[in-house]
Amino acid sequence: MKKIHLQPIDGNSTGYLGLLAILGAFVLGALGSTYYMEHNGHWVTGMDNQIVWGMPHVFAVFLIVAASGALNVASISSVFQKKIYKPLAPLSTLVALALLMGGLMILVLDLGRPDRLIVAMTYYNFKSIFAWNMILYNGFFVIVGIYAWFMLDRTMKQYSRYAGIAAFVWRLALTTGTGSIFGFLVARTGYDMAMMAPMFVIMSFSFGLAIFLLVLMASYNWTGRELGDAVVNRLRKLLGIFAMAVLYFVFVYHISNLYATEHHGFEAFMLLGENGGETYSNIFWIGQILIGSLIPIAMIYAPGVANCRKTLAMACLLIVFGGLAQMYTIIIGGQAYPLDIFPGMEVLESTFNDGLVSQYSASLPEYLLGLGGFAVSLIVIALGVKVLGFLPESLADSVADPHAKAE
C-alpha cells in the first residue's frame, strides 16, 4: 500500500463559506426557537402533558444513535484490523463526535430548564438510565477524542488500537443505554422490551454509516479529491447488510408483541392504523419500511448501479429519512398510544385524555431546533476537516486498495 497523507482541506472557496453560512443560519434558527420556547414555555410547541417528548427528541435521539454508528469505520479499522479503512478512521471519529454534539445540543435546549445543565452534571441518580447516559455521552467525547488524537499524533499512534477498542466498547454501551431509555419504561406498551437496546445498536450501525458515507462522498466531491470505488463499494455493501439487520430487528420486535395478547391493541394501532393510529402506521409502512428501508436496500443491491455515487447518496439519504421515521414511530407513536391504567375497563369520562390516542403535531420551532442540531454537526465536521488533517489526500483505488477488483 502506498503511503497515505491526511491533509486538511483549503476551506477558502465560496462554496465552503456558503455552506457554513447556510448551516449557521439553521443554527440561528434553532437558537431563536429555543429562546421562543423557553421564554413562553413549552405550551407553544406541539408537546403537551400526553406527548411529553416531541420532534426535538426524534432528531436528538436519531443523531445520538447515528453518532455511535459513524464510528463503524474506525472500529472496523482498529478493532478488526481492516487496513483499507485505516485512512478513514480519523474522519469516522470526527463525524461521530460531531453528530453527538448536535444531538446533545437539541436535547439540552429542549429541557424545561436548560439553564440547569450544571445540575444535570452534578446531581446523579445512579439508578437512572438517563443519568448513566449522561456519563456515557460525556465519556464518548473523552474516549473518542483521545482515540482521534492517538491516530493523528505520530508519537501516540502505537496506542491508537487500544483507544479504538475502548471506543468500540464504549459506543456499544452508549447505544445500549440510549435504547434502554425506552426499553426500561415498564408501563408503556410500545416500550418495555429489553430488545430496544440491541435494536438501537443495530440502528446506529445503519444510520451512522449512511451519514458517514454522505459526508465522505460530499467532502471528496466538493474538494476535488479522488475517492475510489474500492472503499465506497465495501461500505455500500456493509450499509446494505446493516439496513437489512434493522429490518430483522423491527420484525422480531413486532412479532414478539403480536404473540402477547396484551400488546395486540398496540400492534393493531401501529401496524394496521386502527383506533386512531393511521398516522403512525402510514409513517411506519411508507416512511420507515418502504422509503426508508426497502427502496434503499434495493438501490444498494440493484445490478448495474454498483459504482453509481448518486444512487448510493440517494440510498443513504433515504436511510436517514427512514431512521427519522423510525424514531418518530418509536418516540411519538409509543406515547400516543394510551396507557393502560385501568385494564379491562373502558374510560367513559376523563379530563386528562385517559384511554384516548394523543394527537401530536410538531410546531415550527421544534423542527428548527432539530434541524439546528443537524447543522451544528455538519459545521463541526466542516471546520474539523479544515483545521486538522482528517481527510486522506487521495483514496483512489490505487492508493486505498491496489488489489481491488472492479465491479
Binding site: N49, L111, L348
Partner: protein, 247 residues
Amino acid sequence: MNKTETVNISRRSFVEKSATAAAALTIAPGIFLNQVHAKPAAEAVTDAKRWGILVDTAKCASGCTSCVTACHEENGIASHGRPLTDQQWIRKVKLKDKQTNHVVSLPVMCQHCEKPPCVDVCPTGASFKRDDGIVLVDRHICIGCRYCMMACPYKARSFAHEAVDNVVDYQPRGKGTVESCTMCVHRVDEDGTPACVEACTEAEHGAMIFGDLKDPESAISKELVKHGGTQLRADLGLNTGVRYRGI
C-alpha cells in the same frame, strides 16, 4: 470562671432579661401554635409511617369534582384555558367494566408508589420518595427532562408548560419543571389531612380515607383489613399508597 462574675448581674440587665423572657412566653404560643402536635421541621421523616389514601368508588359521586377543586385551590394550580398543557394534579375518571358494564367514578392522582418508576428514572434525583412514602419532586433540581412523565404508569405528572402564577409559599412551583400531587405534604407534616380527602368528607361523600398504612389502628388500615383494596396496575408490583375499592 470568676465566682463573683457569675452573680454580678446588674439591675438593668436583670430587668432586660426578665422582660425578654416574659415577652417570649407571651408571644411563643402564637408563633408556634400550628406546630404543637406536628413534626418539628428539623426532625427527619422516618419510615415509621406510610401515608396512604383509600378511595371507595361506590361512594365517589359521578360528576362531583370537589376533590379536584380543593386540590387545585390548595396548591395554587390555575388553568390557562389550555387543557392539554394545563397542570392537573388530580383528575376524575368514569370507567365501565368491559365485561360487566359496571360503571364507577374515581379520582386519579399520584399513587405514591413504594417503588416509584418516576424516582428510578429521574437523572438528577429531583424525583424522590420520603421515608413515609410520599413521592415528591424537588423543583429546585428538576431540569425539566420529563422522563418521569414517560415512566409514570398513571399519567400523574404534569409539566409546567408556562409561567406559574399564584404560587403558594408552601408549594414552590415554576415554569419548565414537573409537578404532581404531594399528598398535601405541608398539611400532613402538621398532622393535617390532604385537601382532596377533606373536601370529599365535607361534600358528605366520604369516599376518601387518609391515614397511616402501617398503623393497624388507623381508619384506613381497618377499612383495608375489613374490605380490602386494589391497586391500579397491581401487575407492575409498585405497591401503591393509594388504594381503590370497587374496581
